[in-house]
């Protein structure tokens, strides 16, 4: 136990920010920046994908469905290798591991998040869309003003759990030498050589603390939103409260 404390005391800066002032940003800060950027950039893509999958036009419907199925059927590691290989060819210059990982996360999370968004849209009572159309909104207007604001609010807990998955997925950047938390821990392990158990114990616990607190937050949010929706149903008893769809959970 003492050596766990010693390792933390000697290496906390490396675990926190990597070799930042002198080298590239790394550690848990890089992990978090990567996950936040990944989910923020994946979000618009996922809404577009969900709308495409729900659209009656085959030309939009099919490519989106194919993308989602391919991403769901192929390991994240394979997507990383593809992006690592294709992006430099497409834009004509080398990109950093960080950018590669970010592109991968946007594609991968975009596809998974689009399933979450689609489930959220489909779980709204049909009357909402019909009422908006009856009031003269176009299809896109209905989506923008009526459906999406409600669906996205209801999907907040699932999106948060998707964010947790993203944090866990950033670990795979290790394979292409992205400087993040797992990479930092491996650096420490390679320096010390004799304390692998302690180093990886610290690594696992760090991820656990971050992801566990976010999981608790997601559960609190879920209860709160479910409570709010139940309240709405009690007032307007004619409208059936569709249950929250089960979130699509991914794990790296």
């Amino acid at each position: 136990m003492y050596s766990v404390y010693e390792i933390l005391r000697d290496n906390w800066l490396l675990l926190l920010v990597g070799q930042y002032p002198t080298g590239p940003l790394g550690g848990i800060v890089a992990t978090l920046i990567l996950s936040v950027l990944g989910i923020v950039l994946a979000f618009p893509l996922s809404v577009l994908l969900a709308l495409a999958r729900l659209s009656p036009w085959r030309l939009l419907n099919w490519p989106a469905a194919v993308l989602v199925y391919v991403v769901r059927g192929v390991p994240l590691l394979m997507v990383i290798l593809w992006v690592y290989f294709l992006v430099p060819i497409l834009i004509g210059r080398d990109v950093s591991g960080f950018t590669t990982m970010l592109c991968t996360l946007v594609i991968y999370e975009g596809a998974y998040l689009s399933e979450v968004v689609r489930a959220g849209i489909q779980s709204l009572p049909k009357g909402q869309g019909e009422a908006a159309r009856a009031l003269g909104h176009s299809h896109l207007g209905t989506m923008w003003y009526v459906i999406l604001p409600q669906a996205l609010y209801n999907m907040l807990p699932s999106m948060l759990s998707q964010f947790i998955s993203t944090i866990k997925e950033t670990t795979l950047g290790y394979v292409i030498n992205v400087q993040e938390l797992t990479f930092a821990a491996n650096q420490i392990n390679n320096q010390l050589l004799t304390k692998p158990f302690q180093v990886f114990f610290i690594l696992a616990m760090t991820y656990y603390v971050v992801c566990f607190s976010l999981t608790q937050l997601a559960q609190w949010l879920e209860r709160r939103i479910a409570h709010k929706r139940l309240g709405a149903v009690a007032v307007k008893s004619t409208e059936d409260g569709a249950p929250l769809p089960t979130p699509v959970v991914t794990q790296p």
């Binding site: 290798l81 795979l172 158990f197 089960t246």
Partner: protein
Amino acid sequence: MKDFDLLAILLKPEFGAMLLHGLQETLKIAAGSWLLAMTMAIVLLVVRLTPNRIAERVVAGYVSYHRNVPTLVQLMFWYFGIFSLLPDALQGWLSVHNAERLLSIVALGLCQAAYFSEDMRSGLRAIPAGQAEAARALGHGYIGSMRHVMLPQAIRNAVPALVNHSVSLFKNSSLAMAIGVAELTHAVKEIESQSFRTFEAYSVATVLYLLCSLIIMAVGGWLARRYRIAGAR
């Protein structure tokens, strides 16, 4: 980039053998960890159903740990961390018997068991309490009501989630590459570095992975339809 030539990889005997060997290894890891995960999940479920608070806490902790720590980190923890603590005799035995493969099966299996047991538990919780009460009222014992009334419904409820998580388990087998198992992704990287035909090599692997995942999804869908109870939602 050279022109796209799939046959250059598929027809060359050494590359074909590498691919086949990689696929075999991937399937071995996936099958092994699936069996371990299912067994462990049933054990976890049974322990959680006993009215013992300490046992319940232990299972909840197990599930929480495995769901909140990245799978790759769990894999590294087993391979670098826990392996170093094992007694020398066991370490030696493991090294002779392909430690990388065995440890990745253990790590992936134990991790997925948490997800499987949660799937089954929510399948069980979705059954109205009246079902169990009715079974007991009709004279079934606890075991009998579980076996004849609750579990048949719970498993059917859980099938979609179990299939989804089986697909992720299969996909996660690629992580074993990070600790040096010669599975499909590893084989493909090897072929790529020998032949410089990156595009072709990656395409072959992607198609193989996709095919296996789609087969798992299709079998799951078929099972769900085949064993559907008429009139159930």
